[in-house]
Amino acid sequence: MGFFDRLKSGLSRSREAINEIFYMGGEVDEDFWEDLEDTLVMGDMGGELAMRVTDDLREQAARENLNRADQLRDALAKRLAQEFRTADRDPFEDVPSCVLFVGINGAGKTTTVGKLAGRARGEGKSCLIGGADTFRAAAIEQLEVWGTRAGVDVITRERGADPASVCYDVVEEAEKRGTQLVLIDTAGRLHTSSDLMRELAKVVNVTRKRCTSMPVTVVLVIDATTGQNGLAQAKEFNDALDLDGLIVTKLDGTAKGGIALAISDQLGLPIYRIGVGESIDDLETFDALDFCRALVGEGK
């Protein structure tokens, strides 16, 4: 019924329009507020948060007499940036430190471990990688390539081995060597799989118990393209493991990663780093204001 055609032309139009809503120097009218809410929804922030933020900003605009769109752009980015919790401690700088990476399948855990190991070596820190994904096909081989790239040893066991025992091994080895930074990769799993979540809780608990010489941090890795399901993921992982923070990957694409804002807002978790590519250097520190500017369409 022409639905697809109408939609296709509508899509390209709306994409341009949305990027322009703040630049037209336009009046702040009803259309503006509607476009704004759409922009936020399109960034994966979720309908509820988008509505709440838009309403807040509407109030602020009335109060402070802001009636040009460009005036509101900055106000909005600042407003959004406030939703992020800041980290009390950087687990990759403040060493000695042991960090576990968890998340759903394909989010970017292994790659992030590789990048962080490379970074640590670049800064002259001693580092050790634990390969506790003993499940996925060639997960160990993949991690070993990263270990070689970073110049960091990988402690692991054969495929099918108990992942908790790998954690035990790597902490023991790190203590023996006096290693400053321990990075442990785990197998991807869906938050809805209760067996696999229980297994992961055991992995984390064993590590927390065994590792008395340094703090243990548990980081959830989230793919920036993730939609509203990211909230369910984060809640389940947090309930099972008591997370410390997040890393958002694949921000080099066109996804805005608004789900990270929703998660940080709901669960009060800081974002430690962002992933911006597949190479060893493609990792950046997180800046809430920059992130929010990108989210509201100022480009990156």
């Binding site: 939609l7 869906l190 694409g253 597949e278």
Partner: protein, 306 residues
Amino acid sequence: MFNSLSERLQDTFDKLRGKGKLTEADINVAMREIRMALLEADVNFRVVKDFVASCKEKCLTAEVLDSLTPAQNVVRIVLDQLTELLGTTESKLVLAQNRTPNVIMLVGLQGSGKTTAAAKLAYLLKGQGHSPLLAACDTHRPAAADQLATLGAEIGVPVYRGDGKDAVKVASESIHEAVDHLNDIVIVDTAGRLQIDEEMMQEAVAIKQAVRPDQILMVVDAMTGQDIVNVVQTFAERVDFDGVIMSKLDGDARGGGALSVRAVTGKPIKFVSMGEKPDSLEVFHPDRMAKRILGMGDVYGIIEQA
């Protein structure tokens, strides 16, 4: 059978009923609920707008407005519309009769599930009496070929790795390999790529030209959010895929992206992937997907088991 959305609509209409006949404004209230449900399911917001507008037209009939059960009627209309847009028939693999080997090529974003899906397709086709060959044409991700080789060994399907450096070369060689070893289908696994990565998109086009696939399938993660439209639009323009495999539907993602994919590219969803094991590939059913998107039956495939 209907829960959550239909209950919410029921409540809405019960309240409105108190003042007599339903009006257009009352239908608008219901449409807001539907809009919310679709956005929560990650249907692209523009798709949502147009979809809701077209549903509204269909709901503004005497049949709905005067009915004693308007909530059920509205849900029925929305469900039917959604099912229709998702594709009214089950789509299967289309292979050429007069060509050996047939070639299936997989493309998609990083981590979407291509390599796993390649093994699953091989397993499925092997079970149907075919003799597939897997081609390891991801020469970028560390240990990508090892991963495919491990999966191939598990399901007893050969894997062609070539030199592991030049993806296009490995792809063309795999066809010769299949001819030599009497494999009737080659399944080409490719590296994950972003739609904005020009060099990598060119590589995908070059692989396509080298192997002239009978089917190009795009693997899309069921958890993908709003950006899905930008991704699939570019892949459709550049590599012109034939259909979609939606992966990771074993979780609780509503998978509203399926509707967005159909809406912006018109390409059918052919399979859904329901786990990490080789036997977890299932044929796509539009009606179940529609219910899932609306939150009316969370477990895909629950109907078949019942």
